[in-house]
């Protein structure tokens, strides 16, 4: 093989490698489960330690209706929802309702301070990209899921939510029989 032939071969290999790198790094997100496709599926399980140093395990909440809320301190619509969730926790907690809030802040400090100042009556954990991906990718806040007593996702909303509708859905889920 001539020198120019060798050079051409090297160039082709470089182009192929670059092409493969590009394929691996860039995609249209088809591989992530779209959040809506999680409806009526078992909620992805996770376990974290909350801001009060208590372990929070989603699997252990089976038998309860769980409101799973992704939020952040810099998200203005989220700030409007949290006080309502606090009310619902107080009102429906005895019926088997549990709010679980996941802060998507980049660090724990601001979220922890806000949770303490707001005297939130439900666990708050710090989320991360992996947890976001489990739930179809969290690419805008707020995002809320309602999980029934069997652990299935039954309701999903993104952006500014219709809280009246959400409350009706959670009341409906609370009225369903507890399989346990």
């Amino acid at each position: 093989m001539s020198i120019s032939g060798v050079q051409r071969g090297i160039r082709i290999r470089i182009v192929l490698v670059l092409f493969l790198v590009a394929l691996c790094g860039t995609e249209s997100f088809a591989k992530l489960p779209a959040a809506d496709s999680l409806l009526n599926q078992q909620a992805p399980e996770f376990s974290r330690v909350d801001f009060n140093q208590r372990k929070v395990d989603l699997a252990a909440l089976k038998g309860r209706v769980v409101l799973l809320n992704f939020w952040a301190t810099w998200c203005a619509p989220c700030q409007m929802e949290l006080p309502r969730f606090k009310e619902w926790q107080a009102r429906y907690g005895a019926q088997g309702f549990q709010v679980l809030a996941i802060s998507m802040d980049d660090s724990e400090r601001p979220a922890k301070a806000l949770a303490r100042k707001s005297r939130l009556n439900f666990p708050v954990v710090l989320g991360d990209a992996e947890l976001g991906k489990q739930y179809g990718g969290i690419f805008g806040l707020p995002v809320t899921f309602l999980i029934d007593r069997t652990g299935k996702i039954r309701f999903h909303t993104e952006g500014e939510a219709n809280l009246g509708l959400m409350e009706n859905r959670l009341k409906s889920l609370l009225s369903e029989p507890n399989p346990r």
């Binding site: 790094g25 860039t26 995609e27 249209s28 997100f29 952040a72 301190t73 810099w74 998200c75 203005a76 619509p77 989220c78 700030q79 409007m80 006080p83 998507m104 802040d105 980049d106 400090r109 601001p110 301070a113 806000l114 100042k117 707001s118 989320g127 991360d128 990209a129 976001g132 991906k133 990718g137 969290i138 690419f139 805008g140 806040l141 993104e158 952006g159 500014e160």
Partner: protein, 168 residues
């Protein structure tokens, strides 16, 4: 006003104060920006002429021409790690001092006519605390060719759901 610890910028203090007052009437304490000593500017105050639509940016990226804009994500790192616009760089949430400092460091050595596109997509456009703040900062330090990617709802709805390319 209890719970409101936002230091509003002089440009939009009136609008932001009205928003905070309305939220207060609704029984909501605004904590969102309480840790930010940054003067916040709303995204809605970015001039229309400085906006770029997602489809337009996607076309620029698809062409892959040299000398394209520097694309900077000025929002949450957690969201950036999940997925971002191909070739874009994380430049920190502009609403936080650390974020603005990261942005300053990234651009300080660039020529002031460098083409820059900023984007966030953390929240609906009218609620985003980062875009306006980043835009004004770049404008104030002399950048003359800055475009703000307009995403009405968020990065998920206005970029990913449209099938535009995402890098992880």
């Amino acid at each position: 006003m209890e719970g409101v610890k936002v230091r509003f910028g002089s440009v939009n203090s009136g609008k932001m104060a009205v928003l905070a007052f309305v939220l207060h009437l609704a029984g909501v304490s605004v904590h969102a920006l309480q840790f930010s000593p940054v003067a916040v500017m709303s995204a809605v105050d970015i001039p229309q002429s400085a906006l770029i639509q997602p489809q337009e940016l996607q076309s620029i990226i698809a062409k892959g021409t040299r000398g394209g804009p520097l694309i900077l994500q000025v929002g949450s790192h957690v969201m950036y790690v999940q997925g971002h616009i191909p070739g874009s760089e994380y430049a920190g949430p502009a609403v936080q001092p650390e974020g603005l400092e990261l942005l300053r460091r990234r651009v300080e050595s660039l020529p002031r006519n460098r083409s820059i596109v900023i984007y966030c997509g953390c929240c609906p456009w009218t609620r985003c605390p980062n875009m306006g703040t980043a835009y004004r900062f770049l404008h104030e330090i002399g950048f003359t060719n800055v475009k703000a990617l307009y995403m009405a709802s968020n990065f998920g709805a206005d970029w990913i759901a449209k099938g535009y390319q995402v890098e992880k």
